[in-house]
């Protein structure tokens, strides 16, 4: 088993799993469908190529929350100009601010992981973290580790300062006890998007980092 680790950070990002139309919520960490979509974009896979997307979705998925995001509500108005009377309407779209995640995808086919890593470094389409207005910051791939998902997620150092109790959310087998989330992509076809459930387990790992010193004079320059 090998695991590809991906660093997802940006000033704002959003991972929707259960809302459409006027209120667009975000989960507290990247969704599997969002990350599968990101990898598909990198690899140039189109929305109706269900088989290729299924291959990516079959990989085991885990997230390490290096820095929890703060919730932001963006007041976003839009206009529908199709009818004679232009209609203006309000949407509320939620984002996570200042968050940093490390995402892992585990599989037995190392060649596929290598293809994915290559695609992240030269994506066919520009990448974004949940919404188009959220391009990622920094290099995405943290490398391929020759070990299972949890080991790989614990191996790479924390990508944010001053954090020590780190939350991890990973895919589990159905015979284990866990909660379910409906972000397992079945089809991204715009005519008929479909998602199903995957089972997850959440845990807190202590990384034993020393918290950084607080400097009260810092803002005075």
């Amino acid at each position: 088993m090998s695991t590809l680790l991906i660093h997802l950070a940006a000033p704002i990002q959003s991972w929707g799993i259960d809302s459409k139309f006027d209120t667009r919520r975000t989960a507290r960490e990247p969704s599997k469908s969002g990350v599968v979509g990101l990898l598909s974009a990198a690899m140039g896979i189109k929305r109706n190529e269900d088989e290729k997307i299924a291959t990516l979705a079959s990989l085991r998925f885990g997230v390490r929350v290096d820095k929890e995001g703060t919730l932001m509500r963006d007041f976003h108005t839009a206009r529908d100009t199709r009818k004679k009377q232009v209609v203006s309407y309000v949407t509320n779209r939620y984002y996570l601010m200042d968050a940093v995640f490390v995402v892992g995808l585990e599989g037995s086919d190392k060649k596929l992981l290598e293809q994915m890593e290559k695609a992240l470094n030269a994506p066919a389409f520009p990448l974004y973290l949940g919404r188009r207005s959220c391009p990622p910051v920094g290099k995405l791939s943290l490398g391929i580790y020759d070990c299972p998902l949890e080991e790989a997620l614990k191996a790479v150092p924390i990508q944010a300062e001053g954090q020590h109790d780190i939350r991890m959310v990973v895919d589990t087998d159905t015979d284990e006890i866990g909660s379910i989330v409906k972000d397992m992509p079945v089809s991204f076809n715009p005519e008929n998007r479909q998602y199903t459930f995957r089972q997850i387990r959440e845990e807190i790992i202590n990384f034993n980092c020393r918290p950084t010193e607080h400097d009260p004079m810092e803002e005075l320059g």
Binding site: T70, F75, A124, S133
Partner: protein, 362 residues
């Protein structure tokens, strides 16, 4: 992947006390980054400002072709979308879709042509080809005639379109615009104002109206990227002009929030544009540690941070860009800064070459 061409725009721009983009409570929008509150102008606000400027950027006459041979042109595009369709069938489909759009065709010595010269843009032809490639019999007259009437060519190809009732009309955006955030920490301030009633009686000292306007001032980092490969698929020979227009509009536009109160229509302090063959690079990371408040202001330090971060990214993670331009300050490997006009002309020429090379290879 081998044909990636990404055009990145990085802008450092200062706005004075203003409320360029506000939320439903009237406060200027903000975001927390690197642990501190920053000023923010939403992606959608600036995209709208760009779109409004397009009306001046693109006079209709400059784009598209004037021809009788639309049937063949559309047939070619139908076959590009769906290579299973043979030439004869493609011509038949093209004829049908044009007729559904209200454009009559006739047989001219074996060639099907329109009766008179018709002006049509690249993306109108692509739109008709898309409608034709997936239907075979029932062409929706309304959709087809709209495809020809609207000239949303450039702004749909750049910003995309999503039509919930009919996903076949969806376009993926070739341009990506990030939310602009300040390079430093910001605290919103309040302007308490009164409005005087000119006709109030002498003995009434009270104001006619009391209120507050919330505002802030900031030096913003603005980022956008254009996927030239994808844009060229939709706009063909119009790509270079579209990119030039987008660049000009991105650099010079300003959302109009509270414009009359604050008159904040500024121009950038520095612009850095790159063409890359691998991936777009957002340089917001340069400001994750906010620029501190000093007597020197924020502009110079912001430009310096952007320059240092760019060089670090190129050394540590990515290669140098293929081509770079800078206005206002030398950034990256740029040897001489240029004026906006020089940048736009240089950009148009480069993109024209890129698209021409790609067409030859295709």
């Amino acid at each position: 992947m081998k044909n990636n061409v990404y055009l990145d725009f990085h802008v450092i721009q200062t706005v004075p006390p203003s409320c360029v983009n506000r939320d439903d409570t009237g406060s200027p929008k903000t975001a927390i980054y690197g642990g501190v509150t920053r000023a923010r102008v939403s992606s959608q606000a600036w995209k709208r400002a760009i779109r409004l400027m397009f009306k001046d950027e693109f006079p209709n006459e400059n784009l598209g072709v004037r021809t009788k041979k639309i049937v063949d042109l559309i047939a070619q595009r139908i076959r590009k979308i769906n290579s299973d369709i043979v030439e004869k069938d493609a011509v038949g489909l093209a004829q049908k879709v044009l007729e559904a759009a209200g454009i009559k065709t006739k047989d001219n010595k074996g060639k099907i042509e329109t009766g008179a010269l018709f002006f049509i843009s690249e993306s109108q032809m692509t739109e008709l080809a898309r409608l034709a490639a997936f239907e075979t019999e029932n062409f929706d007259k309304k959709k087809c005639s709209e495809a020809v009437k609207e000239n949303p060519a450039i702004d749909i190809a750049l910003f995309g379109r999503m039509v919930a009732d009919d996903p076949s009309l969806n376009y993926d955006a070739a341009a990506q615009v990030a939310h602009a955030i300040s390079t430093h920490a910001v605290h919103n301030e309040y302007d308490y104002f009164t409005a005087v009633d000119d006709c109030a009686p002498e003995d009434n000292a009270g104001a006619g109206h009391l209120g507050t306007v919330e505002y802030n001032s900031s030096t913003l980092y603005r980022y956008a990227t254009v996927n030239i490969t994808e844009l060229a698929k939709n706009l063909g020979s119009d790509t270079a002009i579209a990119v030039k227009g987008f660049a000009d509009a991105f650099i010079r536009s300003m959302p109009t929030g509270k414009q009359n109160t604050f008159a904040n229509r500024t121009l950038p302090d520095a612009v850095y544009v790159t063409i890359r063959k691998d991936q777009p690079i957002n340089m917001a990371g340069a400001f994750e540690k906010p620029v501190p408040t000093t007597k020197e202001g924020f502009v110079d330090k912001s430009i310096e941070k952007l320059n240092d971060y760019a060089k670090k990214m190129y050394a540590d993670f990515f290669s140098e860009p293929e081509i770079e331009w800078a206005i206002g300050s030398k950034i990256g490997k740029v040897e001489e800064t240029v004026s906006l006009n020089t940048l736009l002309e240089g950009l148009e020429k480069e993109i024209r070459d890129v698209v021409a090379t790609a067409e030859v290879e295709a």
